[in-house]
């Protein structure tokens, strides 16, 4: 098949990535729960091991083609034509790498902050890692759905067991929100499966030409799942609660990977499978994105809770991502994908940072801080890097992504570009205000005498800092992965699908 | 043709029905158990008419001998005096009556349509020749060996389960 390149590694690298953390979880299961140090070290060992295994992906990926690489395919449930089918292209590869990296950082940052049920905690982290990688690797819709849902359970536990005071509410909300969306997607998947002649093959489905009405309804079915995960306005309200209540590692995984899965879903499914509907829905999607950017940003200005503020900033930043994707041009889409990565790095870093200080103060209220820069200078310097990347300062990764998105958005719709650009101003406003209230001004009694971050925390934060500057200064290293895949995807979106006016189209016209 | 079988059947059938009614209507559980004992003997006799000596024997040994004794033990463990003063039936017993009557009617109605299937190989002659127990044993230990083993397992579990359930909880510390 022209869309597939065989796995030249001679080694099932993607399966190893998926199952190595699972093996780690099983090993942890067998360990004595009283020996917490051993548990932590084993968890670290397996996460680092997975990361090391994933590195060859980065170096051996062929950037000159949009074809799927490192492909593995085995029949799984032949009677339903379900396959164990894995592969990576330029869109997904970066997220696999980010997942393996983030898992290490999560283990590191949770080293001392998790005090109860340590064993179960690290098992959850490893299982989440496995599911994250699985989501990005799957080329079979059924397999994808399994990983997609499998991710929910450990995530639900992470929030509900190790979270803050209001954790059960947040966990249930998170679970129900995402499940409702996923179930609608499942209906969509089954519809596609039956229509396409009983196949779950994502690549084959991406070549189908569906009638417009069907595309229209499928688009909204998928939208339900992906928009909740992103989260787009107005289905974003689970995110602040989940982020706020989740333990540090949970927030980091949520921010860095989980909410990327929504945007990834749009890229992998909505756009190539439903090109015409995607084109027709562009105004709606761009509109929602712009609302999210401004709405999320303005709401941040009134937050008093550290993690909640960063959570709402995620809404704003993910608005940029969806804006870029639905700009449907090269700059927007590459910017969007890069910004997904950036947001993972930056917001992941911010949550790691907040976690580091939360371990010391056990308060999330911004008002309880102040003058942290005097007591923790190293920490303050690292946090300012995340802050600046978050507001898109040139030479940090945030700039490259946001610039390309705004350029693409401006190209697609000038109003969208102009309105979204105000998000940059608002972003600077709330992030710098946050930084000022936490790090500057007179030292608050509650933070006086705190110790600066140690080597372990530094090890968790530094990779993010390095990535921020790496992508900011030399983004070609990362953009290079996606050129071909994005070009291919855009070709599909622009000439795929059937043409013709339909009922759904008219409905949309009236709505507009 | 003699009317004798019909007369015997008439007696046993009416006795079984009357005894059943007695079992479920007695206030004192001990009386119920006693009537049930008598009921089981009648049922065993009925099996004899049907050339099922072994089953009849088991009916007496297992039901009358084992299960009913068990019931009796339990009944005696309980507080009989209180029981004698309490109401027999629940307040809404007519509903139960209605439902059971309806079931009886539907079963009886179904009988009207009942057509027996083709006959098998185990004629009365064969059973009488080989003896009932041996025939049964042959079938049970060949064709039904596996279910038989499972039945033994079920009993074992029941025994263990009963001990565990009925045992007094050990006080922790």
């Amino acid at each position: 098949m022209e869309q597939v390149m065989t796995n030249t590694m001679g080694f099932p690298i993607l399966s190893s990535l998926i199952f190595l953390p699972v093996i780690g979880a099983v090993v942890l299961l067998l360990l004595n729960r009283t020996n917490e140090n051993l548990i932590k070290w084993v968890a670290l060992l397996f996460s680092v091991g997975t990361f090391l295994v994933s590195l060859p992906l980065f170096s051996t990926f062929d950037k000159t083609t949009h074809a799927m690489q490192f492909v593995e395919r085995h029949a799984w449930i032949p009677s339903w034509n379900i396959n164990y089918y894995l592969g990576l292209d330029g869109i997904s590869i970066l997220f696999v790498l980010l997942s393996t990296l983030v898992a290490i950082l999560c283990v590191l940052i949770s080293w001392n902050s998790v005090k109860m049920k340590v064993k179960e905690f690290f098992i959850s982290i490893l299982i989440v890692e496995s599911a994250m990688i699985g989501v990005f690797c799957s080329l079979d819709f059924f397999l994808f759905y399994i990983f997609w849902e499998a991710m929910l359970i450990p995530m639900y536990l992470l929030i509900g067991v190790w979270g803050g005071p209001n954790r059960v509410y947040a966990a249930v909300k998170f679970f129900l929100y995402t499940l409702v969306g996923s179930v609608l997607m499942l209906v969509g998947i089954i519809t596609l499966y039956l229509y396409a002649g009983r196949t779950f093959d994502i690549l084959a489905l991406s070549k189908l030409i569906l009638p417009y009405d069907m595309q229209f309804w499928l688009f909204w079915a998928f939208f339900a799942a992906f928009a909740v995960k992103v989260p787009m306005f107005p289905v974003h309200t689970w995110l602040p609660d989940a982020h706020t209540e989740a333990p540090t590692a949970g927030s980091v995984i949520l921010a860095a990977i989980l909410i990327k899965m929504g945007a990834y879903g749009f890229l992998r499914f909505s756009l190539p499978m439903l090109p015409e509907a995607s084109r027709a829905m562009t105004p709606v999607m761009i509109g929602l994105s712009v609302i999210a950017i401004i709405y999320g940003g303005v709401i941040c200005l009134a937050q008093t809770d550290l993690k909640r503020l960063i959570a709402y900033s995620s809404v704003s930043h993910m608005g940029f991502v969806t804006l870029g994707i639905f700009a449907l041009n090269v700059q927007g889409m590459e910017g969007g994908i890069l910004q997904m990565l950036n947001h993972g790095i930056v917001t992941g870093g911010l949550f790691l940072g907040v976690g580091a200080i939360y371990d010391r103060t056990h308060t999330r209220q911004i008002a309880d801080y102040g003058g942290v820069a005097s007591v923790m200078p190293v920490y303050a310097s690292i946090f300012i890097v995340f802050t600046l990347a978050s507001i898109g300062l040139p030479a940090t990764n945030g700039f490259v992504g946001e610039f390309l998105i705004l350029l693409g958005g401006f190209k697609a719709s000038q109003w969208a570009g102009v309105l979204s650009a105000t998000g940059i101003i608002i972003g600077a406003g709330y992030m710098l205000w946050l930084y000022q209230r936490v790090f500057f001004m007179e030292t608050n009694q509650k933070v006086a005498g705190l110790s600066d971050i140690g080597a372990r925390e530094l090890a968790a934060l530094l990779p993010m800092v390095v990535l921020i500057f790496w992508i900011g200064v030399y983004p070609t290293a990362f953009l290079g992965f996606m050129h071909e895949s994005v070009r291919h995807l855009l070709e599909r979106v622009s000439d795929g699908g059937v043409h013709g006016v339909s009922v759904a189209h008219n409905v949309l016209e009236i709505l507009k | 043709m003699s009317m004798l079988p019909q007369m015997f059947f008439g007696y046993f059938a009416s006795a079984i029905v009357v005894l059943s009614l007695l079992v479920i209507t007695r206030k004192n559980p001990v009386h119920s158990v006693m009537w049930m004992l008598l009921l089981f003997f009648h049922i065993a006799s009925m099996y004899l008419f049907l050339n099922a000596e072994f089953i009849a024997a088991i009916q007496v040994i297992v039901y009358a001998g084992a299960i009913l004794v068990l019931f009796l033990f339990v009944v005696l463990l309980l507080n009989l005096k209180e029981e004698l003063q309490a109401d027999r039936f629940i307040g809404t017993w007519p509903a139960g009556l209605l439902v059971s009557a309806a079931i009886f009617v539907s079963l009886a109605a179904a009988l009207q349509k009942f057509v027996p299937g083709p006959k098998g190989n185990f004629t009365i002659d064969l059973i009488q020749r080989v003896t009932h127990t041996k025939v049964l044993g042959q079938v049970l230990y060949t064709e039904y060996l596996f279910p038989f083993e499972i039945a033994s397992l079920v009993l074992l579990i029941a025994v263990i389960g009963a001990i565990v359930l009925a045992k007094k909880r050990m006080r922790s510390h």
């Binding site: - | 079992v23 158990v33 072994f54 088991i58 068990l70 019931f71 009942f114 049970l140």
Partner: protein, 100 residues
């Protein structure tokens, strides 16, 4: 010869009486006895079938039913003992732990 249907009618009658007992009695032990009644009703029809159809499988089934009845009785009675120990009653309508 007694017709098969007579046996079946008897079986139906005993079964219905068992149902009636189970549905209306308050004493859980009597309810258990009602269950035994119903089982016996089934046994009667099985043996009758076996006889009239000249097929031993009916009796094999009776054999297993008796086994299960024995197991059920032992477990059930054990439960009753445990229940009585905790609640000090054998009256079913006084137990409503499962109330929603």
């Amino acid at each position: 010869m007694v017709p098969l249907n007579w046996y079946l009618l008897l079986s139906a009658a005993v079964f219905s009486i068992g149902v009636f007992g189970f549905l209306t009695r308050r004493n859980i032990i009597i309810m258990f006895m009602s269950i035994e009644l119903m089982l016996n009703a089934v046994n009667i029809s099985l043996v009758a079938f076996s006889h009239y159809l000249q097929d031993l499988r009916g009796q094999i089934l009776v054999f297993f039913i008796i086994t299960v009845a024995a197991a059920e009785a032992s477990i059930g009675l054990a439960i009753i003992i445990a229940l009585f120990r905790n609640k000090n009653t054998v009256h079913v309508d006084e137990m409503h732990e499962m109330k929603g």
